[in-house]
Structures are given as C-alpha cells and as structure tokens.
C-alpha cells in the first residue's frame, strides 16, 4: 500500500472533514498543485480581509 493510500485511510479514520481533507490530499500530489494550494490560501486570506473590512465599515456605519 503506498503512502497516498495510507494517508487516505488515515483521513477516513479521522472522521473529521473527510471529504475536504481527501480533496486537499489529492491536490498535494504535485508541485503545481502545491502552488495552486498556495494561491488558494492567499485568495482565502484576501477574501477574509475584504470581508472583515466590509463588516467593519457596516458596523461603524450603524
């Protein structure tokens, strides 16, 4: 059994966010995928900062 199968089993056994973590695991099999994950994290950070800014503006606008 190769490492990817073992990790897949380990994720399934963890029982937490199994589908998401399996998708993430699948997206880690090449350097290009890793770059995409980095971009995804950066985009998530940017989205969070935008949303937080908007929320602040709305909260203060009240």
């Amino acid at each position: 059994m190769d490492v990817w199968q073992q990790l897949t089993e380990a994720v399934r056994e963890s029982g937490v966010r199994v589908d998401e973590r399996l998708r993430l695991l699948k997206s880690l099999r090449s350097e290009e995928d890793i770059e995409r994950l980095g971009d995804r994290l950066d985009a998530a950070v940017a989205r969070l900062e935008d949303a937080a800014g908007q929320l602040r503006r709305e909260a203060r606008g009240r």
Partner: protein, 747 residues
C-alpha cells in the same frame, strides 16, 4: 499478497526506442548475478531505467527515479527511423508507428507473464498517456487500470518499496551522510520515505505563519468592533441626550406634537418673510408637515435663503454705506470751507489795510522813484565831495593864510577851511545816505505788500480748489434733488440726517430678522431632535446586532473557509508526520535486523561494534531525525569515511531487499554501478555480498569493466551471467554484444 507473485522471476527485458536503444533489443536474465557491463554511455543504466519505467511509467519521469537530475529526462529515443512496434497482444511486435516500448517477461509456475509499457511517438504532442499492459500466464490481457490492479494483486512493489527494496541507482551512492540534513535526506530516500517527507514539507510550506497571523489579526479586529458596538450608546439614548441638550423633554415628545411644532415653525417663517418684505413662499410639498424630515430639511435652509434674498432689511447695508461716505466727506469739507473763509478774511483785511494791487503798485512805483532820486543825490554828493577835495587841494597849493576874498590873514586858514569842508561834505553825504536807505526800505515795503497780496490770493485759490473738488465728490453722493444745491455741505448734512433716520427706522427690522432667524434655527434643531428621537423609538425594535449585518455572513464564511483550510493542512501535516514516523520505525525495524551483517560483509569489519550497527530515530511533532550508532550506542558517522558511508547505504538496501524477498512478490534486485566511491576492500566485500544475495534473489547489476566486474567474474561462486554492451554508436544507438562462449556460464 498473491502466492503467485512469490514465484515470479524476471527472465528478460525487451526494449525499443528507449533512451539510447533504437532497435528492438532483448536482454535475457537468469537466476544468480546478471552483470551488465559497458563503458560510460553504453546504455547499461538505461536497461535499469527500462525496468523502472515499465513498472511505474510517467511517475519515474516526474519523480526522476528519486534523483533530481533524472527529473523529466527523455524516455524516447531521439531518432527518426520507424521501427516495428506492436499491437495489443504483442506490443514489441514490429510495426512502423515509431512508438517506444519496454517489456518485462517474468517466469512463473503457471507460465510466462509479460508486462509492457508503450508510448506513442506523438504522445507528448497529443497529451496521450503511456499504455500499460499485462499478458498473464493464462493468456489473458489486462490494460490500463486493470493492469495496474493486476500488478498490485500479484505483489508487485509500490514506488516506495521499489526505491527502498528493489533498486539503487548509482546516484544514490553519492548521497553523503556526513551531516544531519543530508543524513535525513539520504536515509529518507534509502528507506523509501521521500514522498512522505516531501508531502510534509509541502504542507509545512503552505501552512505559513503569515496566514495564521492574518486570521488572528482579523479576529482581534473583529472582537474590537463587536466591543465597540456593544458599548456604544443606542440611537434612542443618543437622540434623548440631544433632546435634553436642546431643552426638549423627550418624555413629552410625540409625533402629533412634533407635527404641531413643524406647522408653527412654517407659520413663523412665513410671518418673518412677510415682515421683511420677502417674496418667497414655502413649497407646497413642505406645507403639509406629515413628513417631518422634509420640513426639517427645508427649515434648515431657510435662514440662508432669507439672508440671500433682497428685502426691506437689505436696504440697510446701502444706507449705512451712504451715511458713512457722507459723514466722511462732510468731515473733510468742513475744515476746507473754514480754510477758504479764513483766506478770504485775510485777503479782505490786507486789501483794506494796504490797498488793492493797483494802489500797491503805485506806492511801489513812487518808492522806486524816491529811491532813484535819493540815489542820484547821493551820487551828486559824491561829486561834491570830489569838488571839495579839489578845493582843498587848491587851498593847499596856495599855502596862504590870507583870505582870497578879503585878503585878511587868518591863522591856519587853509586847515580850518579844509576841516570845515570835510564836515560839510560829511553832513551832506550822511544826510543823502539816510535818505537813500529810507527810500530803499520804502521800496522793499511796497514790494512786500505786493507779494503778500499775491500769496493771500494764491492761498485762497488753492483752498477754494480743494473745497470744490470735495464738494464735487459730495454732490455725486447727494440725492438727485440736491445734486445742484447751492450749499452742498448743508444739503449733505440734511441728507445724512435723513439717512440716519432711515437707518434708525430699519435697524429694528434687521434685529427682528436676526432674532427671528435665530429662533427659527433653534426651533428647527429642536424639531430635528424630536424627530430623531421619534425615529429612534420607531427603529428600536429593528435594531440589529453585528451578526445580522449583511457582511457578517460573508465574513464568517471567509473566516471559516480560511481556518478550515489551515486546519486541514495542519491535520494532514500531522497525519503525514505520524505516518512518516510509523513507516520509518517499520522500515528501520527491518533494516536494523541485517544492517550490521551487510555492513560488516562489505567493509570486512567483523568487530561486534560494526555488526551491531543500527539506525535510531528521534521524532518530534515536525521533524524526524536519525542517528547511526554502533553496538554500544556510540554515534558512528563522525568516524566513518565516504566509502564506509556508501557501504551503509548499500547495506540499508540489502537489508530491506532480504526482508522483501522473505515476504514474497517478484524477486530481483537492481544495482546501478554500486561500486562507485568504494575502495578495493569494499569492492571485494560487495562482491561477497552479491554472491550471498543470489542465494535468495536474482541480481541485475550494471558495472563498468574492471573493478567489481572482475571481482565477480573471478571470485563469485554463484551463478553469474555477463551481458556486454557495445559502445554507443550514433547510427545504431545502444546495442548488446552477442554472448561469448562461457560468458553466461553457471558454476
């Protein structure tokens, strides 16, 4: 694991258009040691790569056989000739489509099993993948995923097993074990743990601290906002405080009352407008004050509108300006008029006293005539004096005291005459000088009177000129009816009085306007405060917490998404590290069983300490480190030379291969130039080990001529077969030399 797999033995390798090999080539293998002998570049390593590529395909290229410089290495032979390639049943069968193919033929108890991997000539251009096929002992063909399944079911190795237990490339031996980092990398590779280490490193790389910091910073900011919102006074509180500040009792504020206030506010605005004579009306939309906001908005702009429109009150500004100008001119003209009067009086007095210009001119003329006469007399006196002097001279010449008239002798007569003549002439001269001086003074006095008259006349003219200039300016500011008044100053005084009276009349109106507007502004502010209070009361039931703001959902979703992603990365990192530690322990338990044995065999070091060689691990949450120790637990790396370190690397492979062979599956071991960096003693030891290995596993070893090859040929006791490769030829590529007699002999 399949029982059948345990009995599979690699019997031949067939390759075509694979790297240096152009023509279809078959390498026959036997039990025992199969030695591929060739110079550098002859293609012996390509045979080893062919086995690997057939089993793992594109994975070998993307992972570079675990060796960085092998990554993306060209598999296909770069030639244009079209060689025969096969069909589904026999991929090696000749054809003319130019594809690359490798076939591994295994012998099993039930017959032959053939693995083939083919790549089309235009696979890269068309993005087509390799084709894997299995033709099993029953004659059944399996392709693609089914073929991969068949391999897994029959105990064929995974990539990590392959790297740890089946194959060691020459570059693996170059790994240096001298420091902690390279030891980790080398042992990870030797134990087949590279993928896990890579994965963990990737996860560590993406789980950057900056992302965690962003989450913490944003959450902290958000908490601050929530706190602000929780402690901030509500709209009702704020409006109530505003009402109290403006003297409005919030308890008595009602919407009806506010409407009444709005009506009164509009009425008073209209009244004020009428009083000021303004031609402005309250718009229809405002006059029905159902919408307080509209009334408040209009009322807020009303004072500015009133101040900007012309009305009764706006005349005041012009009147004040006129009064100011008249006052200033009057103040200037009054002293000028007095100055003219004074000049006139002075002139009149002068005329009365000294006569007019003609009279003064006559007096001057007379004075000048007197002076001339006096002056002539004076000149005559001069002549007389000269005559007397001459007479004196005559007397002296006569020198006689006798009187020339009576001829009587008078003592000192000439002297006495001379004295008398001098006295007389002096008296005459003195008298005439005085008369002349008096005449001169009279001339001067007459001249002064003429000059004084001219000066008085000039002063009067100038004073009148100034007065006229200012009077002209005054006339322009007088009412039209008074513009030609005989006495403009009097008219100006009268106009100033009239203007002042008008100002006095209008000033209360301005005061009324300002007072009215101030009151209006205060009433407007109070009405606005009341309206705000009413709105706040009305909106209180709709007051929202931050979590009901539209942006809250997006914020929470994005926070959840980022946190989840980071948590997932962290979780996978932990799982990977756990698996890495577990597998490392598993592999080392296998390795350590026989590591010392193989190390001693290669190095010839038979002491207990060497035979007790083991690898220890130390795991943390994020790192796995290794130590190589002897039987006494002492670290060995610092005292070993590079040859011994390479011996450890080979011993790790052999220990795992032995274990792998015991567990079944296809049995063979591939070594690509293992003698690299070994000294003569170690080469001899390696030959002993290979001889020993053949008792339970066939070995395929690629070697340059001499060295280990000679050792194996001359000293190995087991079955040995030598496959010699010709030097690479640009026309034919890599080729196998036909076997010479006795070359593949068994003992």
């Amino acid at each position: 694991m399949s029982d059948g797999g345990a009995r599979l033995r690699l019997r031949s390798i067939e390759l075509q258009r694979f790297r240096g090999f152009r023509a279809r080539t078959r390498v026959v293998l036997h039990d025992g040691i199969n030695v591929l002998v060739g110079d550098n570049g002859s293609g012996k390593s390509s045979v080893c790569n062919a086995i690997e590529w057939c089993l793992f395909g594109r994975e070998v290229e993307t992972k570079g056989s675990g060796i960085p410089e092998y990554k993306d290495r060209e598999i296909r032979h770069r030639s244009n000739d079209a060689g025969g390639m096969g069909n589904a049943v026999d991929p090696m069968d000749d054809g003319d489509d130019g594809h690359t193919a490798v076939a591994l033929v295994f012998a099993g108890p039930d017959g032959e099993v053939t693995l083939t991997r083919t790549r089309d000539a235009d696979a890269k251009a068309n993005g087509r993948d390799d084709r894997l096929g299995v033709l099993d002992a029953t004659g059944a063909a399996h392709a693609g995923v089914a073929a991969e399944g068949w391999l897994a079911a029959h105990g064929f190795p995974s990539w990590t097993d392959w790297r740890s237990s089946y194959c060691q490339h020459q570059e693996d031996a170059r790994h240096r074990l001298l420091d902690d980092h390279s030891l980790r990398a080398s042992l990870s590779a030797l134990l087949g743990l590279e993928e896990l280490v890579d994965l963990r490193n990737r996860l560590d790389a993406v789980k950057t601290k900056s992302h965690v910091k962003v989450v913490k910073r944003v959450e902290a900011q958000q908490s601050e906002d929530l706190l602000d919102l929780a402690t901030a006074p509500g709209p009702v509180d704020e409006a109530s405080a505003l009402c109290a500040r403006l003297g409005v009792d919030p308890q008595r504020v009602t919407r009806e009352g506010a409407r009444g206030d709005a009506t009164r506010l509009l009425d008073s605005a209209r009244d004020l407008g009428r009083e000021l004579g303004l031609n402005v009306e309250v718009p229809e939309s405002v006059t029905a004050p159902n919408d307080l906001a509209e009334v408040i908005a209009w009322a807020a702009g009303w004072p500015a509108l009133v101040r900007s429109l012309p009305g009764k009150h706006s005349r005041l500004t012009g009147l004040r300006k006129t009064a100011g100008e008249l006052s200033a001119l009057i103040l200037e003209i009054e002293p000028l008029a007095q100055q003219v009067t004074r000049a006139e009086e002075a002139l009149r007095a002068s005329l009365e006293r000294d006569g007019d210009r003609e009279r003064r001119a006559q007096a001057l003329s007379r004075a000048r005539e007197d002076f001339n006469r006096s002056h002539a007399a004076r000149k005559a006196a001069g002549t007389l004096r000269a005559l007397l002097k001459d007479a004196t001279g005559v007397l002296n010449e006569a020198a006689s005291d006798a009187c020339p008239v009576c001829e009587s002798v008078v003592p000192d007569l000439t002297g006495k005459v001379e004295i008398r003549l001098v006295e007389l002439s002096s008296q005459v001269v003195t008298t005439l000088d005085e008369a002349c001086d008096n005449a001169s003074q009279a001339v001067q006095s007459a001249e002064q009177q003429v000059t004084a008259l001219t000066l008085l006349e000039t002063q009067l003219t100038n004073a009148r000129g100034h007065l006229e200039s200012k009077t002209g300016a005054l006339r322009t500011r007088l009412p039209e009816a008074d513009a030609e008044a005989v006495d403009p100053l009097a008219a100006a005084r009268s106009a100033l009085e009239t203007t002042a009276a008008e100002i006095d009349r209008l000033e209360p109106l301005l005061h009324t306007r300002d007072q009215g507007l101030d009151q209006h502004q205060q009433d407007t502010e109070r009405l606005a405060a009341a309206a705000r209070y009413l709105d706040a009361l009305a909106g209180q039931s709709k007051r929202v917490d931050v979590i009901t703001l539209p942006a809250w959902r997006e914020y929470q979703d994005s926070l959840d998404a980022l946190v989840s992603l980071l948590v997932d990365c962290d979780s996978l990192s932990t799982l990977t590290n756990d698996l890495l530690c577990r597998r490392s322990e598993e592999r080392l338990s296998v390795v350590n069983r026989n590591l010392g044995k193989y190390f001693s065999m290669i190095t010839g070091e038979q002491r207990a300490a060497a035979r007790g060689l083991t690898v220890k691990t130390k795991a943390t949450a994020t790192r796995l480190s290794y130590r190589v120790v002897d039987a006494h637990g002492e670290p060995l790396l610092p005292i070993l030379n590079q040859a011994s370190l390479n011996a450890i690397a080979l011993a790790v492979l052999f220990a795992q291969a032995e274990d792998r062979a015991e567990r079944g599956g296809p049995a063979f071991l591939v070594l690509d130039d293992p003698e690299q960096s070994l000294d003569a003693d170690h080469i001899a030891g390696l030959a002993r080990v290979l001889d020993h290995l053949t008792t339970w596993v066939p070995v395929i070893v690629a070697l340059p001529p001499g060295g280990l090859e000679t050792r194996l040929r001359d000293y190995a006791s087991g079955s040995k077969h030598f496959i010699r490769l010709n030097a690479w030829d640009p026309t034919t590529g890599s080729t196998i030399r036909p076997a010479a007699t006795g070359e593949a002999a068994s003992p």
